[in-house]
Amino acid sequence: MRGETERHPPRVAVALLQLAIPQGFVREAILGDLHEEYCRRSVSSSRFRARLWFRITAFKLCVKYLIERATHRPGYLGAGGLPSPAPRDNNKGIRLPMFETVLSDIRYAVRTLRKVPGWTAGAVFTLALAIGATTSIFSVVNSVLLKPLGYIEPDRLVALSFTPVNANSEAVFLEFGEQRAAHFRTNTTYPNFEEWLEATTVVIQDLAAFDDSWSRDVNFGAGAERMKVAFVSAGAFRALGLPPSLGRWFLDEEDIPGSPNAVILSFRVWQNRFGTRQDVVGQTITIEEMPHTIVGVMPRGFSFPTASSEIWLPMADASRHSGSWNYEVFGRLKPGVTFGQAEALLASRSIESTRRDGTVLTYAATPTPLHTRFVGDVTLMLLIFLSAVSAVLLIACVNVMNLFLTRATHREREHVIRGALGARRSRLMQQLLTESLIVCAVGASIGLLLAFALTDWLVVLSPESIPRKEQIGVDGGALLFTLALALVVGLGVGIAPAFRASKADLAGGLNDSSLGSSGGVRRTRLRDAFVVAQLALALTLLVCGGVLIRSFAALMGLETGADPRHVLVFDTSLPESKYQTFEDRRLFNEEMQSRLRALSGVQTASLAVYFPASGWFHTVDFEVEGYSVGEREEIVAEEKQVTPDYFQTLGIAAIEGRLLNEGDGVTGPEVFVVGESLAKKYWSSGGAVGGRIRTDDEWLSVVGVVNDVKYRGDQKNFPQLYRPYAAGTFKWSMDGLLRVEGDPSQYAGSVRQTIAAMDPDVVVSDLRPLEHFLWDAVSEPRFRALLLGCFGLVAVLLSVVGVYGVMAYAVAQRTREFGIRKALGADQFRTLREVVIRGLGLTGLGVCLGSLGAYAAVGVLQSYLFNVRARDPLTFLLAVGILAFASILACGIPAFRAAKVDPLVALRVS
């Protein structure tokens, strides 16, 4: 049986040939010839090659026959139409086969569309724009949200979230504040993870922890560089299930501190640093000056947890941070265990952890699909984009449908005549649907090209925080989507006009059709309803875009309290072995500062941990002398260790007291400088200078108050606390900040050279103007505002074109009527008014409905807004104003045309 099926040529190719070659004995003979050749080839060569040959040959033959048939007169049937020779005749009957009528419809449609190039171009480009934008956004949604994660059976991977189950724990969560509490819901400590490992074994296999918040100095042999690394416990790779392309995963013993240092590389690192050499496993690289043996290379395209982690280290290396709440936990459900079962079982388990102050906290864990954990944050944003672009598509479709309706009215006579000559109703409909499908197919093809460009542009523009960003692209799924979209849109915009045309009134239509004033009340109503819907959608989008733009403007206009212009920042990392004591590091840093200061054009050079907008910050709990802490009060500050020049470099001014001095913490006592909001909060009646604060055992004086620096984008800023770097305990990594003359990026080379001249082993990274970091910090709100703003504007433009189209058409239809009225002495302003009032009525209705829509829709954006209310009256008014103005303008032009109608010309029209 199998042997027999194998001798069959590819069925799809045969079916295509049957479609392309006219029915008849010729087709049978050709198929026979190909079959014969196929059999010969599958014996002499391989079956695979024979099938490939058959497919290619069939494709070429189809193209040849389709071209032949399209370039000949309708009715050309190839030799199938020839009087067939004896003894067989398969070609009886004169009915054109289905395929033949489709071809003739296509030919006819192309001919008619070419006669109205302006109309066709308008329809095609409107659709191209909308389909392109929709495909592009769909590609993003598909790559980020819809595609399963690239691991084995990804739907069985779950991440754990932690919730407090007793009053104590809940209090601690609340104490953290909302922002930190979110972190503690998804992260835990390593000892806690080990407890979970035992508590979950019944339902989860290979529970693993990971922490990707670290960077390390990695040396592949050509000098050290700073790279992002991810620490993973041994179970992680097992849980993900994807085998390495070389070597092995981490072993369980490699989680234990003191075991030999191991490292696993990503495909890209292997390719770029080792030229895909096969003998890489077993070689050593240096990480933080410690030799690490390469034990494995992961396959191409593997990323975990994000694409920025290109090097994985076992937990042994990370164990010194085990007290930190930095570990996310995930695992694979055991075979046969459902998500619901896991959820139920985990709900009954809890673990206890004791804080330093002795409080016992109890947590329960809930599973979340790993996919949700990875993409959950952007789901809402992407769905909003998808809805917005769908609205744009809908508006575009309505425009094109209106174009088709208008044209159907113009061609009414043609349809009536064809009907009178015996064309069936279905035949007329098929013809008109072919036209709309062709317009859509061309529009979708151009749209697809547009989508490739737009998607690339979206990837460049989108914030780094979008997960799986590296996978975004127009792929097979997106192509299918476009195809389906084109088909649906083609039928959608064509069905109403086709249905209408097929009902053409035979008797009435043959009368002088131009006499019909505006094509019947029902038709006008349909078009009017479309226009109102368009305006309403456009207003909704415009308001949503407007609110986001206002929010972004508020963010940009925010007084940051620091002057980021002309500031160059960089990150330095000193090798631990060379700079073991704090004094070694202090000496190096002071020498570096003085050498950098000596560079021409450099005004100040300072050091800090960390610089604003670096993405890093350090918070401390503190106490204020004489201030009684309220119940559940959060008393946390962001602590910065800075050199005295820091304030001058960033233009931060002292409001009270003094700034830090060189001697603070070295020759004199250690002191604090605090931010304005901290001073106001804890010394509400003044007197912060001279007050005392402690972050550990020692009370230290506050010597000055400076203005607040709010650089953390739209997120919450903590009150700020500065202490002298010279007294600090921070170790090997410092950020440098230089205030320079002119463009800061021009100083990058000389800064690198200066530091390399001092010690080539010091790693310098992130060397960029501070403004770039600030710009990156607002990339998310900027992206949202830009995208929805664009959609809003395109929607307004399209709907105004829609209004214009309908009004211009109505006026053109009534030219004769206006002419007669004018000849009878009608006032031209009355005509003008009449047209404008109708336009205003449509606009008014659209605006009313749109306002309601916008009022409902804009609430979704609430969480993205900064210093702007979602239902911001100003934005509503502006949006309504813009839309109404544009719409009235669109009515005005046809209205003036109506008023200016020359009665003589108008009466001669028919």
Binding site: H8, P9, F25, V26, E28, A29, I30, L31, G32, D33, H35, E36, E37, C39, T57, K60, L61, V63, K64, Y65, E68, G78, A79, L82, S84, P85, A86, P87, R88
Partner: protein, 109 residues
């Protein structure tokens, strides 16, 4: 001779190959013979379309063979050159020969 009675080079090749093969001439065999004699690859699609065209012009005649299992139960289309076809070939040869005559000096023997 009317315009559509003129033969193109490819049409001449097809007709000549059929005459060479004789009464068993059908698609693949013609293709093989043409490739053999002309020393270049010939498009299958062009051959089939040309066969149809020559038959419409009346220069070829098809007959249908028996369905064959090796061909998936499909028959062969045998073609033979008609009198009109032979006439057209003769015409083409004569007009070309008279044009070739006397140009040995330019084109070489």
């Amino acid at each position: 001779m009317s315009r559509d009675q003129l033969l193109g080079t490819f049409e001449q090749m097809v007709l000549l190959a059929i005459l060479h093969i004789g009464k068993d001439a059908y698609g693949p065999l013609i293709l093989e013979r043409m490739q053999e004699r002309a020393g270049r690859s010939v498009s299958r699609g062009s051959l089939y379309v040309t066969l149809d065209r020559l038959e419409r012009k009346g220069m070829l005649q098809s007959t249908i063979g028996e369905p064959e299992p090796d061909r998936g139960g499909r028959p062969k289309r045998y073609v033979t050159v008609t009198e009109k076809g032979v006439g057209a070939l003769r015409e083409a040869r004569d007009s070309l020969t008279s044009l070739w005559a006397g140009l040995d000096g330019v084109l070489g023997k």
